[in-house]
Amino acid sequence: MKTKGNFMGIPGPAWLGVALVAAALLVLPYVAGMAGTAWVRILNFAILYVFLALGLNIVVGFAGLLDLGYIAFYAVGAYLYALLASPHFDIHWPFWAILPLGAALACVFGVLLGAPTLKLRGDYLAIVTLGFGEIIRIFLNNLNAPINVTNGAQGITLIDPLSVGEFKFSTTSTLFGLTITGPQKYYYFLVVVAVLVVILNLRLQNSRIGRAWEAIREDETAARAIGINTRNVKLLAFAMGASFGGIAGGMFSAMQGFVSPESFSLLESIMVLSMVVLGGMGHIPGVILGAVLLTFLPEVLRYGVEPAQRFLFGRSVIDPESLRMLIFGLALVLVMRFRPAGLWPSRLRKRELTTEVTP
């Protein structure tokens, strides 16, 4: 079922496209910077969501295990970073020590969640993962007594930004005569990590493990019959997906300088899942598209809805915040209604959908 292709599934001429994309990625923060620093921040969040969506895509898209508590791993990474690099415990570890640690801890949590739930199928798994996510959030919310670990609902503030020696990612500085703001620095860092993550994902999909995941997704019994150790391979999916979440969480912490349990609600898990499904489950470019679109859509609506209302009715008729979410919800419904396999599904998936009618 492998798609025909050269290195990493990209045919020769397409490398030109890759070069164009790279150039675009390079100048993007300056273009966005012209519209305001807020847009650079949104851009950064889009990349973070790409991480999360790709991580969840491993679990849901590749292995076909519906995980509704994915944000828990994001939370684990974020809180680990917050605790190890803030005045809260007065520990200030460097980020290159914490990020891998966050990935490792999230991975442990992934296995912890995966191990007892391997027997469950489909929607039973979904509800257990959902419960797991809520458990983590409730603990984060309440672990301020008797020992104050997470500082409860107030969250942890003054988290150290990323820094290498004296070079801080949070402040504006001038490099080779070029002014570069804090969010822009984060952007470049995130883009580098994101590119690595995307390459890793592409390689993973076409590897032995990737094919094993696909086999499990399509038919678990058959997969076991051809000699795939379904237990281990499923655990691996959980662990891998979780560690992506852990890393993303750490970077979220550093970028925001503040974490609270509110950022890790079920709605957030659902958002990431929507990105995966809306983009095209199991198809990496689609998932990236989904993540970027769903990060930008609410923000564009945030800035666009109010002027549009004033233009149409001369005044603000409906609370802009609800109107923007209303449009967002409708967009989710409409996209799925007219493109059931996602905006950019893999060719295989599309073919399945048009030729076969599943009962």
Binding site: V60, L66, P116, T117, K119, L120, R121, G122, D123, Y124, A126, I127, V128, L130, G131, F132, E134, I135, I138, F139, N141, N142, A145, P146, D219, E220, T221, L266, I270, L273, S274, V277, L278, M281, I318, D319, S322, L323, M325, L326, F328, G329, L330, A331, L332, V333, M336, R337, P340, A341, R349, L353, V357, T358, P359
Partner: protein, 308 residues
Amino acid sequence: MDILLQQLINGVTLGAVYALVALGYTMVYGIIGLINFAHGEVVMIGAMVAFTVITSLAAHTQLPPLLILLIGLVVAAPTCMLLGYGLERLAYRPLRHAPRLTPLITAIGMSIVLQNVAMIIWGRNYINFPQMIDKTSYHIGNALITNVQVAILFLSALTMVGLMWLVYRTKLGTAMRATAQDQMVAGLMGVNINRVIAAAFVIGSALAALAGLMVGTYYEIAHYQMGFMLGLKAFTAAVLGGIGNLAGAMAGGLLLGIIEALGAGYIGDLTGGFLGSHYQDIFAFFVLITVLVFRPSGLLGERVGERA
């Protein structure tokens, strides 16, 4: 006061409401295998519509309170039924042959839409439900039970009996069970699949409206986000009992209500004061996970075969 008995009474009341909502989830799931994520929102809309009707009637007429409540239900139930039908028609039916997760996303989308519509109509603040029934308490041993609780228990029991009759004794019920077993074969036997599925949504939504009214009168408060957690708990209850199984949803709902109430009452003592009552949600989910680990198809669920 007898804390154990008191918490049991509170738990069973809450559980009855969960059970009503869980029935809506389980009927839809049993027939088309879809998690109707927007079902919690239907409960919320039910509560909100009932609230509007009740407050305006209470303010402008001299009707007896019980009649006002009844009118509230009579208006809220058809509204929700229409809403449930609309949901099925617009968001789910076109996607019946789509990949399994696609209707889940449309369900989430509809849920967001309904929440925000409710926020636009009823505002973002908590709404105080008017107190229509003068509360009186009766003693059971050393615990108290209010007349509202009695009414909730009685009404839910009655509704559930009615539902059981509908599903097991009527032609529509037979058609529903047949469709749940095998859609295609049921269709060949002359069952109108579309109508049966729509019926499941409509009936579930009517139960949701009743549950919404009950929650409103019980807690005397309503909010545009109330459906989310309630729906989540009810869905948990349905899974706990074995999703797709009517008796399972009822058992799961009651069990979850009791577990939550007891958990809230005793979790402090159990953990030596380490965990307080705000961990009650953890208790529910923890029990759910434990049950599913040992009985992967829920308490009363059948073993699920390979799903294509």
